[in-house]
Amino acid sequence: MANGVETLVSPSAHRRIRRRTAIGAPGLRALWRFCCKKPLGALGGAIVLAMILMAVLAPWITRYSYDETIRGARMKPPGAQFWMGTDNLGRDMWSRVVYGARISVTVGFGAVLIAQALAACIGITSGYFGGRFDLCVQRIVDAWQSFPFLVVILSIMAVLGPGLVNVTAALGVVGAANASRVIRGTTISVVQNAYIESARALGAGHLRIMIRHILPNVAATIIVLATIGLGAFILAESALSFLGFGVPPPYPSWGGMLSGSGRAFFLDAPWIAIYPGLAISMAVFGFNMLGDALRDVLDPRLRGAGGRVR
């Protein structure tokens, strides 16, 4: 659980979790409470945890290497030897799906990290300072947003060559523009609040206000965006694979498997498509459910508000 949370939430929100779930029995109790109150969120968390475990333990839970072509094992259906069957090149699908978790986790988290960090910096400063600064920054964001993402991604791929890092960076950079607009929107309405005014009156600096007062209040937005983002980036990678610009082989990305041989051999060997497809759907589902639940729990306005509205 901790692993998933750590990367998902912003630093200040994280501090709050730690404060509430101190190590030991109270922490376990809090976790239990979370599971009871948010069963779907807990399910999502379990899926995310399983995925991360799969990524970490990949070499120990697979029998074959992901790119090993096994002689005489072309398109074998799932069975005792190959749990998920083999693909058209005679590679073990289980190994490929497990190693695929590594690729997808890396792409998803990497891209989210890049996108949200960029977006938070731009969105908060732009929304906070407003005025001419906002005007200028928003023009750049406008341009950035309207930049057909295909041009950016294909350009990056063509100049640097397709690669895991390049795909991640391209997705992150493209994703940041939209997120920054949403964060700016939320910041603007936060800035209107009286407590910002009073913090300013007490002589707090811009940086302090932005980090101490605005960031926690837009954290909910950031978390929602990040969780939508995590799933979305995994999906985006698979869409890029469809166009031939995803994570390049021999890396076994789920999107690549699904859009490549999965699609090509769907009629004869559906398992080549079904398992990576399931993995994508499970991952996206897990991230989203966990994100929703976390958002409900972490919302600063929820503290002391007595829980449910009705």
């Binding site: 023009r139 350009s155 100049v159 939508i228 459910m289 919302d299």
Partner: protein
Amino acid sequence: MRKYVLRRLLVASASLVIASLGVFSLPRLIPGDAVQLMLDERAYGKDLDDLRAKLGLDRPIYVQYFDWAGRVVRGQLGESLWTKRPVIEELARRLPVSLELGLLALCFSISIALPVGIVAAVRQDSFADYITRSLAILGLSVPGFWIATLAVLLPAIWWGWSPPIQFTEFSVDLWAHVSQFILPAAILGLASAAAIMRLTRAMLLDVLRQDYVRTAWAKGVGERCVVLKHSLKNALIPVVTVLGIQVAQILGGTVIFETIFGLPGMGRFLFDAINQRDYPVIQGINLLIVSVVVVMNLTVDAFYAFLDPRIRY
């Protein structure tokens, strides 16, 4: 307000310039230019230079840029390096297709997402909340190209039916024209419906806990009134932002659906143009998309003012 809009329109041109500069230079940085692609594998050094000179691609980038910008101001987008067809004509043919697809998808997704999002927020943590959210996220979690593939292949195998492969013009057959958009729009709308539904739910939950809403509850205002009148407007701010963005992305990003369903829209056009390094086409499409985004953002900002009375200009 009018002054604000005018000022915004003025500065919007800055976005246009920035974006056009980027789009102008980025594709030109890629190895393998249009000329090499045109001559394919049989390229002799001298031929390449000749063709570059003929197409004006041998001049420094900034000269090409100002030349292009000058012509755009005069209302000319130039012609494709490959087909010699005027870019503006091509855009005029393809824009409606993408717009139609995009708008249909948007209608589809809003009509599902808003009601479901509201129900899920109001009945937070209820059975209905879990079910709708799970379904929404399931819709979100399957890659669009995969749903499209199944939607095309499976009916063909089971019932011997597949979507029409020949695009029908609006003027030829109205029903055939609209019906060919239904399947791709529904699939395209599904993904954004899930996203919008979740955002609506999240934002509405946020608003429902605000003091003024609690005051409304305390005053004994009915549920319907609290939710629809007091809260929804505020909750929709980020949702509207996302909607604005979606339109822009649909214009340039539907290449997958256009490929699978054979629709002659902008996505495929742009994809081919990038692959062929057809600079005038890339620039023309970009100019159009930036313009649309600028207009959308203006509308969104105006909507903000309407939705959140605290925002004044």
